[in-house]
């Protein structure tokens, strides 16, 4: 018998990972893309490129020299490789998000962006979503073309394996919450698909991504994801998205969770003073957050005393509002074991590691656990 791979889930806990990444190179998407933009992808596929740095596809404002040392980038090219790797990590289900197209919102050509979103969604469904694989998909929204994007969401709603809508967040301008995106949010709510905000560290001339003044990646990485999520949360709240779409479920990923209480308390404070400017918010912002928003763990905040993170989580709803995410295979991924250090009750751990996500994304209990229940019954 092979060595037990000490999976966190081995005690009967379902592990759902709401943020894993597929390698979405232009040449992979090209066969699924409409003309003439298929030609663009073919040209891009044959051109030299670097990870998260493909002009016209994943535009990176590359200002800085490489520094010797460091670890190399990882990517996953096939669903079988992803399945095997998730098994090794002890993860039952993963929700697939793009890799290079994390920078999708920065692409200014509306026609191209629309075709690219179609191609990604076709490719995702054709190549990555397979019954029983435990790999679930998020339909990519196209902020450059909200009306078309709403149709795209309607088209894929009900497709087996599609469980959510990905809102490209890095460099999105205007921020999510702007009224022009209402058709996307309305379609997601109507389809009962949660929306997932996911950013990436990017330097772009739009708020809050103008981070070119930082002279190294430490500064940009600390700021990038967290400021993106803070700005988008406030934007979503300031136009009353959760009030106007009361069934819409909103997930914030890849910024850790420690920023959440800060924004929540600031919004509650100023809601008292400026309520008349946001009269559609008939409750405190924190009430909407505790009802309609979820926050993913990765990159796990790592205070010296892990108890401090658990206390921080409790301020915004704790285990009920927190979802496990690994960000596999990226450089700062979290192994499920990383959460083993947190002083949580078994019930809290079960919710965070998977039960919340099973309910939120309407996923079935995995066979490995449902069989066990039958045996023990």
């Amino acid at each position: 018998m092979p060595v037990q791979s000490n999976r966190v889930a081995s005690d009967g806990m379902v592990v759902v990972d709401c943020d894993i990444h597929v390698n979405d190179l232009p040449e992979f998407l090209a066969p699924h893309c409409e003309m003439p933009w298929r030609k663009s992808l073919e040209i891009l596929g044959a051109a030299p490129r670097r990870y998260l740095d493909i002009p016209g596809y994943a535009p990176s404002f590359g200002l800085h020299p490489p520094i010797p040392g460091g670890h190399s980038a990882r990517s996953v090219n096939t669903p079988q490789a992803m399945r095997d790797e998730l098994d090794a990590l002890g993860i039952d289900y993963g929700i697939l998000l793009p890799d290079h197209l994390l920078l999708f919102a920065t692409l200014p050509n509306i026609e191209y962006a629309t075709a690219l979103s179609h191609a990604y969604n076709r490719w995702l469904v054709a190549q990555w979503i397979q019954a029983g694989s435990g790999l679930y998909g998020a339909i990519m929204a196209c902020p450059q073309n909200p009306e078309d994007s709403a149709k795209e969401i309607e088209r894929y709603a009900g497709t087996p394996g599609i469980c959510s809508v990905y809102l490209p967040t890095a460099g999105v301008d205007p921020l999510w919450g702007a009224r022009r995106y209402d058709p996307i949010l309305a379609a997601a709510e109507a389809a009962d698909l949660p929306v997932i905000l996911h950013s990436v560290t990017v330097t772009s001339p739009v708020f809050p991504a103008q981070i070119n003044q930082f002279e190294n990646h430490f500064g940009r990485q600390v700021i990038g994801h967290a400021f993106s999520m803070m700005a988008n949360l406030v934007s979503i709240m300031h136009t009353g998205v959760p009030a106007r779409y009361p069934k819409l479920k909103i997930v914030f990923t890849e910024a850790g969770v420690s920023w959440v209480p800060c924004m929540m308390w600031r919004m509650d404070r100023y809601h008292q003073e400026y309520r008349r400017t946001v009269p559609f918010l008939e409750e405190r912002p924190s009430e909407y957050m505790r009802r309609q928003m979820w926050f993913a763990t990765q990159p796990l905040d790592e205070p010296v005393n892990p108890k401090h993170l658990v206390e921080t989580m409790e301020h915004y709803g704790g285990a009920d509002r927190t979802l496990f995410a690994s960000d596999w295979p990226h450089h700062d991924f979290d192994h499920p074991r990383g959460l083993a250090k947190l002083p949580l009750t078994q019930e809290q751990r079960r919710k965070i590691m998977g039960e919340n996500a099973l309910g939120l994304f309407k996923l079935p209990m995995p066979n490995r656990l449902s069989k066990r229940e039958i045996h023990s019954a």
């Binding site: 060595v3 037990q4 010797p68 040392g69 670890h71 990882r74 490789a81 790797e85 074991r337």
Partner: protein, 145 residues
Amino acid sequence: MSGNQEMAERASEAETKSQQPASTPVDYPVGPASDFPPGSHRIVQVRTQEVGVFNVNGNLHALVNVCPHQYGPVCDGPVGGEMRCNASTGWKFQWSRDGEILICPWHGLEFDLTTGRCLAPKEMRLRKCKVNVVEGEVRVSLTGG
């Protein structure tokens, strides 16, 4: 098996095995010294434990293949140097100690191969093993680095 998966599997196994009690101090042969020339970097199996054996400037160092951060397979990572910048370098970037620093492939944490100490949080350190050469053979003990 993909490289990524192998990395994840190996770390899981290393972690599981490291929970077993250490043996009584016994030296385990891991190969002829000629297999560990200066600059070399190999992972060997010592009983149930994976150990990285590194020859740094002619001196052997052995470290358990588990990163204390998130239990990644730290010895699978590349070996590089230390970027320094402080008053003694005149606040200029200086590349030093090339070949003496191990970089975890999971999250890029850097460890001094000669001491096991992490260059960032200094209280974090890798478990060192005793390693010596007896009659041309490299021997590793899981205890007493």
